[in-house]
Symmetry: C2
Subunit: 230 residues, 2 copies
């Protein structure tokens, strides 16, 4: 295998966007140094390498930064194209479909999930209805396939990774089911398929720490909403 | 030149997202059939080919649809890689940078511009402050370069196309300047460079029709806001 150069990843212990990059690097067998950021006290490295958003993840390859998780995934796939698996299908129409769904997960599904999780009352109901509608589309898209791109795991699967490890946490905190076997057989099977991949399983943040963290985030959002309407 | 296959583009006469695709096809010299949609009465073709968003643009290549303008641009670049110009730089780091800025223009700059245009009072002030901040970053990024990707026009330039043809329309309607020579010398020069490209200049929708359309859209948003707060 060719020299990979120096690869460093700025992330946090719980960032769902950071995990996408961890999975890609690990699946492709690319050695890297992981640097955990504290977003309440951002490092000079983060401010220097992602001055526009000052957010994680940032991949630093031979001293050059790449920001935005979906952009990083494309970079990894192009730079280490010799390392399987390919993160995008080879066929241009299928590549376009994979990119379409990755965008959909970030721009449509995730905001709906976020609304369902951080709001209450009517706004939460709307968020739940909205995520249900998005899941219906994802379920239909996935039917009969192993992964969103076909036979191989790839960028859209990473983009929906939060469904596998974060939605169960949200369900526990909210005390309701969002994804279930009956309405979402393909998504449920896909979730198990993702969870069974060793390098992904090994990288899950501890469940109890996630529950504590996200319960506090929800409380914070509800308190802020009360304060601004009170 | 190889057979291009059958290329059809669903768009509207004024869609800024549709124009991105028009420019890419024309610059690469790809013959296509243009189908203008009426979004108040969507065609069966649009509902069939973009069932998820039912939005333009949709590129249909040999009967297969590709949706989302940035995804379409990547598809065009991959499928007709032999036709210059390349819409992304060859170097992986520069490709990542081009994708980063295209995302920034869609996800950060355009929503700020939208807020500045469709709101009034304090909300509009916030929108204007926000777009000013985004333009400062874009100005710094562009300094010393012909286009966002370097020497060649490409995806991030198309993604910011609305700055060239739509912002002057917004400025006229609002009666204020958003982009100016003094604060934005590089963006101003870039705008002229884009406007001077013949296939882009030819594709501008008529200025007076744009002013009428967007003034009506702004009135609609302000009336809706009054109705919901009144």
């Amino acid at each position: 295998m060719a020299d990979q150069g120096e690869v460093k990843l700025l992330k946090t212990w719980s960032s769902l966007f950071g995990l996408r990059v961890v999975w890609a690097l690990k699946l492709k067998g690319i050695p890297y140094e992981s640097v955990d950021e504290d977003l309440t006290n951002k490092s000079d490295l983060l401010l220097q390498y992602n001055p526009v958003h000052t957010k994680v993840p940032v991949l630093i390859h031979n001293g050059k930064p790449i920001c935005e998780s979906l952009v990083i995934l494309e970079y990894i796939d192009e730079t280490w194209s010799q390392n399987p698996p390919s993160l995008l299908p080879q066929d241009p129409i299928q590549r376009a479909s994979a990119r379409f769904w990755a965008k959909f997960m970030d721009e449509k599904a995730l905001p709906s999930m976020w609304q369902a999780f951080t709001k209450k009352g009517r706004e939460q109901e709307e968020g739940l209805a909205s995520i249900a509608e998005k899941l219906k589309l994802l379920e239909a898209e996935l039917e009969g396939k192993k992964f969103f791109g076909g036979e191989e795991i790839g960028i859209p699967d990473f983009a929906l990774g939060w469904l596998v490890n974060l939605v169960p946490v949200f369900e526990e905190i909210l005390g309701l089911k969002i994804v279930d076997e009956e309405r979402h057989p393909s998504l449920s099977e896909w979730s198990r398929r993702i969870s069974d991949i060793r390098v992904i399983e090994e990288s899950w943040p501890p469940r109890d720490k996630l529950v504590t963290k996200w319960a506090a985030i929800r409380d914070h959002f509800l308190a802020t909403a009360r304060a601004s309407s009170g």
